[in-house]
Symmetry: C2
Subunit: 107 residues, 2 copies
DNA sequence: TTTATAATATCGTTCAATGATATTGTATCA
DNA sequence: TGATACAATATCATTGAACGATATTATAAA
């Protein structure tokens, strides 16, 4: 039977997938995209980045489409897009639960 | 100099702090609160729960206010409330960046 | 050919999550 | 009273992610 998908992405993982809204990307492009998009809040170093890219390839969230010298370029897959949307949904639920908690207060 | 606060809470940690919107809480009350508030999406087992409570005591996010038999009761501190609000803010930023990414698309 | 630079890869450590299991108090009841 | 059940907390051992530091490799420039 098919493996159950991860039900939670870490913050770096989430931003890596977000980067593919720009289309095909290589590692360093992803890193600078994330830093820029987050206003410098999220900075992904090489160790974290390439660990995540390797994991995402194995999980089929992204796919390598070309190698040019050292540069490896990837695209997101449908499966990866699903994971990304699922993560957005999870974040919304967290915030929704928090808002509800505040409203209900003492019960 | 004062230690820099954690800049990110895990999902279980976030929901544990959320539980204190109901006032003082013991471990098992927190666990059932979280399961209920999240509609069963987030379930925190004893290992995770008591690991987090111990960590939060040490970090001064919560404080033990009474012991009755085995039951230990805690309240959230101002410091804990700040961490909780900071986490809400972080979640909002993640969603905001994602929305912006979608809008900008190819650039 | 050296040198610089861009890009990717890996090591070693730290920390959180978690299933499983153990411990410890309190209450019930024969 | 003791045995038993239950509620609540505690701990072990494993797994996996984050990340600073450093190394490797390919291209380009001098």
């Amino acid at each position: 039977m098919p493996k159950k998908p991860m039900e939670l992405l870490s913050e770096p993982m989430f931003y890596v997938l977000m980067a593919f809204s720009r289309g095909e990307m290589c590692g360093t492009e992803i890193a600078s995209y994330v830093a820029q998009r987050s206003g410098g809040r999220v900075v992904i170093g090489p160790a974290t980045l390439y660990t995540i890219l390797a994991k995402f390839c194995k999980e089929n969230y992204i796919r390598e489409i070309s190698v040019d010298g050292r540069r490896r370029t990837y695209v997101i897959t449908d499966h990866g897009r699903q994971a990304y949307v699922r993560e957005i949904d999870r974040l919304c639920r967290c915030l929704g639960d928090a808002a509800h908690a505040e409203k209900d207060g003492g019960r």
